[in-house]
Amino acid sequence: MSKFGSAIFNRLVIIIPYAWLTIFFLAPFFIVLRISLSETAIAMPPYLPVFNLVDGVSGIVDKLGELSVANYVFLAGDALYTNAYISSLKIAVISTIATLLIAYPIAYGMAKAPNMVRPTLLMLVILPFWTSFLIRVYAWIAILKPEGLLNQLLLTLGVIDEPLIILNTNWAIYIGIVYSYLPFMVLPIYSSLEKMDHSLTEAALDLGCTPIRAFWRVTFPLSMPGVIAGCMLVFIPAVGEFVIPDLLGGSETLMIGKTLWNEFNANRDWPVSAAVATILLLILVVPIMFFQHAQAKADGEGK
């Protein structure tokens, strides 16, 4: 009984979460792929062909012939979509670099902080991550508006003569992404810096390195795993970001997450939005696998 019971327990531990994720996370991608090859129709669900088990095998095979790549041809032919992909990638790259530049000194300062204050600092970085994304983005609207708090402050200080137009431009999107994703960059860099052996830096300094040289030759290369993990954690979701471009960006801002949302919610064109999602996934699959590989390796080292 015990042997039997333990075998079942071991099996279930793997099978239950595996089955769940296969059904609700993996299988849907194949459905997306399939619908992206369908035609738009005025029906519910709004696409053709609809596969039905009642059709039998021959009926399903017949319908397979109706699938077409028309939606992809449409996407490739319309500059709106190509521009949206390119502009999303550009915005994500610029924001990731900006986040790295701001996050690194914070993580570095935290890693060098006295042991007493470190847990508090860590807690303070994690806390915003728990508060709603939507709320944090919303908070910036009141700050960046032409008559908003930032302009009021700058006008009072006499730094500027007329209000800066930041809201509804790409600048607002950069600020929004850097702000929202900052903890995702700080945490991995901090954890790789914290694990670092300080005697290595000391050795470099003893051997005559200037502090700046010691940083670039010793500390920075050793923190690379954290930097890479942080960049992936910011870059991948930023490419498909919807809330930030929608609330902070302007009408001329093109980002693919927003395009997909509009295609689906406003135009109700499911096959085209499925095609948009499929291409976005193809663009991101390499960075995602890279991230997963790096993460699995980092977890393996913990053992």
Partner: protein, 271 residues
């Protein structure tokens, strides 16, 4: 030891100011007398009073809490199992795919996850509403739970489990009486994380929910599109307050447990 320089302190102060100032301003202006969120006109709690009379908002809050409680609980069970599978069974068929399915949802753009889950629900003929919303939330939050619990399991001393097994405990009994009590703080913070993620989600909810199951973020979003108002600031302040309290309780509980665990271990060694 390398000193904590003035540059380090300055970058931390500026970093935290950047992280917290927008939230602090949002909270302050929720108490503004005026309808404008950029001009201070005196202290008032009238926007909070007004919230209590906004039935649609209260309904949305109730849906959000129920979805959060159910999905966080199921996600914690599934995520803990997934973490066990990842750390205990280093070799099984399809392990690569499994770890991919754990890590990918953490970075997957929400529009893709939301759209694909919606299309699944339509394909299998499930009516969109409360339960599809809950299923979607379980799926994306369980991966966060798995990662949190997994990091605790990696530093777990397996020898006490082996001792229990040697003494005749079944795997289930060993898990419930030995493993679970030790990893409980991580499981609990996983639950809190899943709950807050569910509470906050807009994009996946918008795709997978149907009529009658509007969540608070969906409600907030539709109002934000119409303009910034102190009333939204008040809702946001309450949400921030709940989350801050939850995190505080979670960290106090886990710190207490940690201290207790260290004491227990010391006591065990003393015997």
């Amino acid at each position: 030891m390398v000193k904590w320089s003035r540059f380090n302190i300055a970058s931390i102060v500026f970093g935290f100011a950047f992280l917290y100032l927008p939230i602090v301003l949002l909270v302050i202006f929720s108490f503004n007398e005026s309808k404008l969120v950029t001009v201070w006109a005196g202290f008032s709690t009238k926007w909070y009073v007004q919230l209590l009379h906004n039935q649609a908002l209260l309904d949305a809050a109730w849906v959000t809490v129920r979805v959060g409680l159910i999905s966080a609980t199921v996600a914690t069970v599934l995520g803990t199992l997934a973490a066990l599978a990842m750390t205990r069974y280093t070799r099984f068929r399809g392990r690569m795919l499994f770890s991919g399915m754990i890590y990918a949802p953490l970075v997957m753009p929400e529009v893709i996850t939301g759209l694909s889950m919606l299309l699944l629900f339509v394909a299998i003929g499930l009516d969109r509403g409360f339960w599809t919303l809950t299923l979607a939330h379980i799926t994306f939050t369980m991966c966060f739970v798995a990662v949190v619990v997994q990091s605790r399991l990696l530093s777990f001393d397996r020898s006490i489990e082996e001792a229990a097994m040697d003494l005749g405990a079944t795997p289930v009994a060993t898990f419930l009486q030995v493993t679970l009590p030790v990893i409980a703080p991580a499981v609990f913070s996983g639950w809190v994380l899943a709950f807050t993620l569910s509470l906050d989600d807009l994009v996946i909810s918008n795709f997978t929910s149907g009529p009658g199951a509007t969540t608070l973020p969906m409600k907030i979003y539709s109002q934000v599109r119409l303009g910034v108002t102190p009333e939204i600031n008040a809702v946001c302040t309450i949400l921030i307050g709940i989350v801050a309290m939850g995190v505080l309780i979670a960290s106090v509980v886990s710190r207490r447990r940690e201290i207790q665990r260290v004491r227990d271990e010391q006591a065990a060694f003393a015997l």
